[in-house]
């Protein structure tokens, strides 16, 4: 008769894989060299605002449009719809 593993045996088995390991020779040096080379030769670091403009231009345009509309609405109040319909023609 087959007996299935109990939970404890199962956990012991699986956690046993979390053990020290020996990396292949030379890997440590090559990973470091490659990481630093890639990091140093990469493009200049952009600020949050620059990232928004260059990487997500549509989102930036949407935000700018919403902000301008909101500001105009706040200033013009009920005159804002008339202004918009005037622009549209």
């Amino acid at each position: 008769m087959k007996i299935s593993m109990n939970e404890r045996d199962f956990i012991n088995l699986l956690t046993s894989i979390d053990a020290p390991a020996t990396p292949p020779e030379g890997l440590k040096e090559s990973v470091l060299k490659s990481a630093i080379r890639e990091g140093t030769s990469s493009e200049p670091v952009l600020s949050g605002f620059e990232r928004l403009i260059f990487e997500k231009p549509f989102r930036a345009a949407g935000l700018a449009s919403a902000a301008v509309s909101g500001a105009l609405w706040a200033i013009l109040g009920s005159g804002f719809p008339a202004l918009v319909s005037g622009w549209i023609g």
Binding site: I3, M5, I11, L13, S16, A19, P24, A35, S42
Partner: protein, 182 residues
């Protein structure tokens, strides 16, 4: 400026040297002994660590920080593998070399057993393997596993049960298990 860059590199190199073996072992266990994939993920993790080294908060150790980056890289890798539903993670080689754990003998099983566990895990589909690793190796709750995998807790419960059954079937075929569990 040059001096600051050199200092930064020097500090990164020192912390890297101290934590490399640990991070490598951490990833190796979670790829079920796939040496090639482990190298890729370790490389990606340390490159990301170097790129964002300025943002490293000294509130945790560098090792912990690097492992959390590696964990994210592992998640991306498993998600891709699960999406593609291909068997490219299937174990085709011997598991990468595990260090001799003779000084950690209290709970650690034999090297052969570890290899058998890794081999059995590597035979499973990526979704089963990842679920088992998250639940039993990382010790996450079913809810947390569900959040990582992006499925409901109920679905994850089912996946875990099937994954466990599949693991037992494969594992029992390996040496030394027949007597214990049959």
């Amino acid at each position: 400026m040059m001096q600051t860059a050199a200092k930064r590199e020097e500090e990164f190199s020192r912390l890297y040297s101290e934590s490399f073996d640990y991070v490598y072992a951490f990833v190796l266990a979670r790829t079920a002994g796939d040496g090639r994939l482990t190298e890729e993920i370790v490389q990606e993790a340390f490159t990301a660590a170097w790129l964002s080294f300025d943002r490293f908060q000294r509130t945790s150790s560098f090792q912990t920080w690097a492992c959390s980056i590696a964990r994210n890289k592992l998640r991306e890798s498993y998600r891709k593998a699960i999406r593609r539903e291909k068997r490219e993670f299937v174990f085709k080689e011997e598991p990468a070399d595990l260090a001799d754990g003779s000084n950690l003998e209290e709970t650690v099983l034999s090297r052969e057993t570890r290899s058998a566990v890794l081999r059995a895990l590597s035979e499973l589909s990526p979704s089963y393997r990842y679920a088992l690793i998250l639940k039993y190796v990382d010790g996450l709750s079913v809810k947390e596993v569900a959040r990582v995998i992006g499925r409901s807790p109920k679905a994850v419960d089912g996946v875990l049960q099937r994954a466990k059954a599949a693991f037992e079937t494969v594992y029992k075929q390996t040496e030394g298990c027949e007597n214990k569990y049959e």
